[in-house]
């Protein structure tokens, strides 16, 4: 009897230990092993500089984007079971998710809010990387290829926009349909291949079931997996590049001087040069064990991000307009907000030149094709410039990993002007364009939309 009780107490102790006990390593070696013991933790470094860990260097924007992507994936999996990708039933199935599925409203709203925020945070992440000059490797991290990671990042930004845009169509309401009509018409303005691009985007000659199933398949089956693969690559590259660029700004430890041969983290990677061991410098900054320091902060960021999305979803509804119809156009018809800078550019650069009378002969009225300029040339230039920029960055290596380094003043100003222009155009397109694409200042109210009764 006594032994049985003792046994039960032991079981209870084991369970308690399993649930609550913390691991207190006795030696540095034991602390380092934490990374290797757990599959989920193996992608952390053993040690990390305090600067990389700080809140105000990276603002953890990449982590936030990743958490948003995970929220989107999980809520998206639930929505796949509830949503019907057919033009007859898509709209109704969204109404059902909103009104009768338990917590359906919460899941749909979280999916939509997280999608908007992911677009924004991936963009903020890019701004951070640019302003800290973190797209370059220095002689502190000689085997790094941060430029490659910058390119992966730009591709991820474009894919994030595509994911968001393909999801925008799925409710099959007026908001969705006309956003796609606008997109397809802008694409149509591309010279020579315009018609083909439009055909591909619509999945046929006109928007309908073909379009819906095409975008649905892209949204749930193609793009998420490409993005998952690229995110993994992106994260893996951070390790291969020697961590965040803030490490480079700390400089190399003076004593010792020469690079040290190491075996610690090259086994799984294909590091250039000596392998399986690689050589590295000891960094000057103060370091801590990544477990638990990074893990704790990641959990904080995760929980706060999930919390904020939940908060938004509880208190703020997401739109679902009238069922899609091509019989009438909503006024104003708008693309999703992250493409409104483009729509704004298209509307600004579309100029109807009236008849010009020069006495002897006259030039008939014509229209300057804004779709081509605002829809193809300018966004192409913006993305192209972003991809090429690191090659033309001639600032000293000491500028890498430092916010607003003096030597990068000019390029930072140029970059911020472009960002500001995008932000202003987006703001105008979102909040100041009312019916008939008329300009309304923030304090002016829009005319009320007519109703049946």
């Amino acid at each position: 009897m006594k032994t049985l009780i003792q046994k039960q107490i032991q079981v209870a102790k084991d369970v308690y230990e399993f649930l609550f006990a913390s691991y207190s390593p006795k030696t540095e070696r034991e602390a380092s092993d934490a990374v290797g013991f757990n599959f989920l933790l193996h992608w952390f470094p053993v040690k990390i500089t305090k600067k990389s860990l700080s809140w105000h260097y990276s603002f953890w924007l990449g982590t936030i984007s990743l958490v948003l992507f995970i929220i989107l994936s999980l809520s998206g999996i639930v929505l796949i079971f509830l949503y019907v990708p057919s033009v007859e039933r898509a709209y109704q199935s969204i109404k059902d998710i909103e009104f009768v599925v338990s917590y359906g409203w919460l899941i749909r709203r979280m999916h939509r809010w997280a999608a908007h925020f992911m677009v924004a945070f991936v963009f903020f992440h890019m701004i951070r990387v640019f302003l800290t000059g973190a797209y370059r490797s220095t002689n502190v991290t000689p085997q790094g290829k941060r430029y490659a990671n910058w390119i992966i990042g730009i591709v991820l930004l474009v894919l994030t926009l595509l994911l968001s845009y393909t999801g925008y169509l799925l409710p099959w309401d007026q908001l969705a349909l006309w956003a796609i009509v606008i997109g397809a018409n802008i694409a149509k303005a591309t010279p020579i291949i315009g018609d083909q691009v439009q055909f591909i985007m619509q999945g046929g000659n006109e928007i309908g079931q073909n379009t819906l199933i095409l975008w649905y398949a892209m949204h749930i089956a193609v793009l998420p997996f490409i993005v998952t693969a690229l995110i993994s690559w992106h994260m893996w590259r951070i390790r291969k590049d020697g961590g965040l660029a803030s490490v480079d700004s700390l400089g190399v430890k003076k004593e010792g001087g020469e690079p040290v041969k190491s075996k610690t983290y090259s086994l799984m990677g294909i590091a250039k040069g000596v392998r399986p061991s690689i050589s590295y410098h000891k960094v000057a900054g103060e370091t801590v064990h990544a477990i638990p320091a990074v893990l704790t902060r990641m959990m904080i960021v995760t929980v706060f991000t999930v919390g904020f999305m939940t908060f938004l979803s509880i208190f703020f509804a997401v739109p679902l307009e009238e069922p899609a119809t091509t019989e009438w156009t909503p006024n104003p018809a708008k693309a999703p907000w992250y493409f409104l800078w483009l729509q704004e550019l298209v509307s600004i650069t579309t100029i109807r030149v009236p008849l010009i009378n020069l006495g002897i002969f006259s030039i008939p009225p014509f229209t300057i094709n804004g779709g081509f300029l605002g829809g193809a040339v300018i966004p192409g230039l913006v993305v192209g410039a972003a991809l090429m920029w690191p090659q033309f960055d001639r600032s000293p290596e000491s500028a890498v990993g430092v916010w607003f380094h003096k030597s990068r003043l000019k390029q930072n100003i140029v970059f911020l002007i472009i960002v500001l222009a995008l932000a202003i155009l987006t703001y105008i397109g979102t909040f100041m364009r009312g019916p008939n694409w008329g300009m309304f200042l923030p304090w002016e109210s829009w005319p009320s939309m007519p109703v049946n009764f």
Partner: protein, 284 residues
């Protein structure tokens, strides 16, 4: 730094816990659940505990795929098809003239929104009654009817009746539409307009499906007062050229009553598919 992080982690956990409770609350204490328990109390007092228990709770729905009706109105209007609750307030009362309606338009075949309007999908009062943005067919209420000079909602509801009764000339219970149909004959509107998709003059626009025209496609520059399609038609029948610039349609000098009737008639000309068993037919 370590301790600060742990405090942050702990507080973020508290935040998510609170939010979880809020989400539970919002879903678990949905408006209709309160309405149902209130109704069950009333029913218990009225017909006894045993019979009150027979009411099914949870979301109740009339689903008629043939005419695309998904009406969850019964979730709150629980006694709508149960006699004996005539004296109760809305949403707890029985449908007026239940027996007659059950015979001519059984709820299980017609749903609620087919005649009354409103958003059948929704299960909150505001959204179900359809007085929300992006829902073009709101519940036709007494207040709304009075706004346009009718006496009660049923007169305004003739606009919905006529979806199926369009080809009839004299339908019991539809005095306004009947009057308007007679006016259409008397004034010979077909002289200028195509109204049945086939025959008619071409001086004026075709108006076979003018009831499906979206409010945003009407021009409201010449319309005084509320920007509604009903108002547009009322003022258009009064002075066509004032509302529709350049129109050659003459003012016919209709009375206010006739104008109201004509307005709901043209608004009833919606593009709907009526299954054969819903087409009214009288054997001679």
């Amino acid at each position: 730094m370590k301790i600060k992080d742990e405090i942050l982690l702990f507080s973020s956990g508290i935040v998510i816990l609170i939010l979880t409770f809020l989400a539970f609350g919002k879903d678990g204490f949905a408006e209709w659940k309160g309405v149902q328990s209130e109704f069950l109390d009333i029913a218990e007092a009225k017909i006894g505990e045993k019979r009150a228990k027979e009411f099914q709770t949870g979301i109740q729905m009339i689903w008629v795929p043939e005419i695309k009706v998904v009406d969850r109105c019964k979730t709150c209007h629980m006694a709508i098809d149960i006699p004996g609750f005539e004296s109760e307030k809305q949403p707890f009362s029985t449908h007026p003239n239940l027996e007659q309606w059950n015979e001519t338009h059984p709820f299980k075949n017609y749903g609620c929104t087919t005649c009354h309007g409103g958003q059948g999908f929704a299960v909150t009062t505001k959204e179900a009654h359809g007085n929300v943005k992006h829902w073009e067919r709101p519940l036709l209420s007494n207040d709304m009817a009075k706004e346009y000079g009718f006496n009660k909602a049923s007169e305004l509801m003739e606009v919905n009746c006529n979806s199926c009764h369009r080809r009839e000339t004299d339908t019991p219970g539809m005095p306004n539409i009947n009057m308007a149909k007679k006016l259409i004959q008397d004034k010979n509107c077909a002289q200028c307009h195509i109204m049945d998709g086939k025959n008619g003059g071409t001086l004026g626009p075709e108006i076979t499906y003018v009831g499906s025209k979206h409010p945003e496609t009407f021009g409201f520059d010449g319309v005084e007062g509320k920007r509604s399609v009903m108002n547009w038609h009322i003022q258009h029948f009064k002075l066509p050229a004032k509302v529709s610039k350049g129109s050659i349609m003459p003012p016919f000098g209709f009375s206010d009553e006739e104008i109201r009737a004509l307005s709901i008639l043209v608004m009833s000309w919606r593009k709907v598919k009526v299954p054969m068993e819903y087409v009214p037919y009288k054997r001679d």
